[in-house]
Amino acid sequence: MSDPKSERGAQNGRRPWGRVAGASLLAGLLVVAPRSAAASEDTPERAGTEVFHLDTALGRIDYHAGRGLRLGNTGLTIGGFAIVNAERLEGGESRGDLEGPTFLFSFEPVPFLRGFAELETTELAHVRSGQSGVRSTPGVDIERLYGEAGLNDALNFRIGKFQTPIGRWNVAPAEPFVWTTSEPLILEDVFDDKTTGAMLRGSFFPRDGALSYSLYGAFFDPIDPDAEAPPAKHSAGAYLEWASLGGWSVGASYFASETTTGKWHHLGGADLLWRPTDRVELTVEGIFGKAPRENGVLAGFYAQAVVETLPTLYAVGRYEHFEPAGDDPAIDLFDVGFAWVPFYWLRLKADYRFADHLDERSAPGLRASFSILF
């Protein structure tokens, strides 16, 4: 029950007392709460490896490896991931980075409403060849921040900053969710990987699969834009995907962006995922058109194969062909390496990139990463 005196105190500007009271209340709930809410066999538990739980008056507070900390019945779950990268490029340059931790906040007070945020701590630690010691220029980036409402599967409305739904890779591009240490060239500054605006999305379930769509547009000032690659002033796009329960899916993307001169550029893409068996995954993704910040037509694709050679050990190979806009020559790349996933929340990767010529976008060399979901 709320205390009217405390409420008046807060209104009068005596917030420190309110904070103390709030902290005390929370501590009391956590420490002194009766164990009546203790989990029994009949209480559903979250999936994943439970590290600890605490039964409180707020409900069951539990932490599961790689699935985050759920704060009782509040609907809030906090998780995330962290990555350590190291690379030794042809030509002698070496570097290492700690990326993150990146925090994922998921708030679902009722099934029809959801809030989500991704906050990345940046530049916590990095070393470079030619520099002395470990350097740190920490900051925080808002990678995603949106709210979503939906009363059924066919129509959901999202507003805020979200991942631009183009192709397959960009939907979940972070290290722990992909098979190689570097992303394909068709994703590097070709389109705006994030959109600040609104999106309608939904799914239908005819026959043996799911037909999903996304329609989106950038209408607002971008939230925490990338200073090196600012997003287009306005943009709009659509993604359509058919995901079969038989282990394959196909998608088509369209992205239109307004340039600084007021002209609109158009980009199209297609992607395919095929899993012929449990141990083999093939992905192909291509893109063609005019990017927001370039005038010429670009085109490119990648084809990637992942094979589970031994349990938890995956061999990975990817071929890429990219024709940049302008006069730069086409680039051919081949990445080959492995990924070891001893637990669902831990991934170690190492791969070598071969390139037909040296280009700042495609520096050949050895790269490795260690990523953990928490």
Partner: protein, 142 residues
């Protein structure tokens, strides 16, 4: 020649399914008796992948799994989701990037039956021999 044959055998082994398709396990998908709509295998799969999140009347679906490593769950994943536990872990990792979590789990089939009998929005699965009048069977998987 022998090396080529060995290489071909290795490729075929990688492409081969990992389990036989003829295992006869009687699993029944159950819902609350108040739920009268029919569900197909595909409907159940979309629910357990959390792509389909609502019943036809707009109520949120509450899918229930058994704990990881349970033979019945592995069979269910194979038949309904057509995937191994390792592949499904990859799927849920990608969903985690969006704050979407796998279905909750219960410790026993008895607990699943009791929970589904008490929650009109829940859906679970049991061995056929454990289904009783407190729940409604909507799909038999063999």
């Amino acid at each position: 020649m022998a090396r080529r044959l060995l290489g071909l055998a290795a490729v075929l082994a990688l492409l081969a399914p990992t389990r036989g398709a003829g295992e006869a396990v009687d699993v029944v998908v159950i819902v609350h008796p108040r739920r009268t709509s029919q569900l197909s295998l595909e409907d159940v799969a979309q629910i357990y992948l959390k792509r389909r999140r609502f019943w036809d009347d707009g109520s949120p679906v509450v899918p229930l799994n058994l704990r990881s490593g349970t033979p019945l769950r592995e069979h269910f994943s194979r038949v309904v989701l057509r995937d191994s536990e390792a592949r499904l872990a990859e799927y849920w990792n990608r969903q985690y990037f969006y704050g979407i979590f796998p279905p909750a789990t219960l410790a026993s089939t008895e607990a699943v039956r009791r929970y589904v009998a008490s929650d009109p929005n829940a859906i679970g699965y049991l061995p056929g021999s454990e289904v009783d009048g407190s729940v409604r069977a909507v799909l038999h998987l063999r």
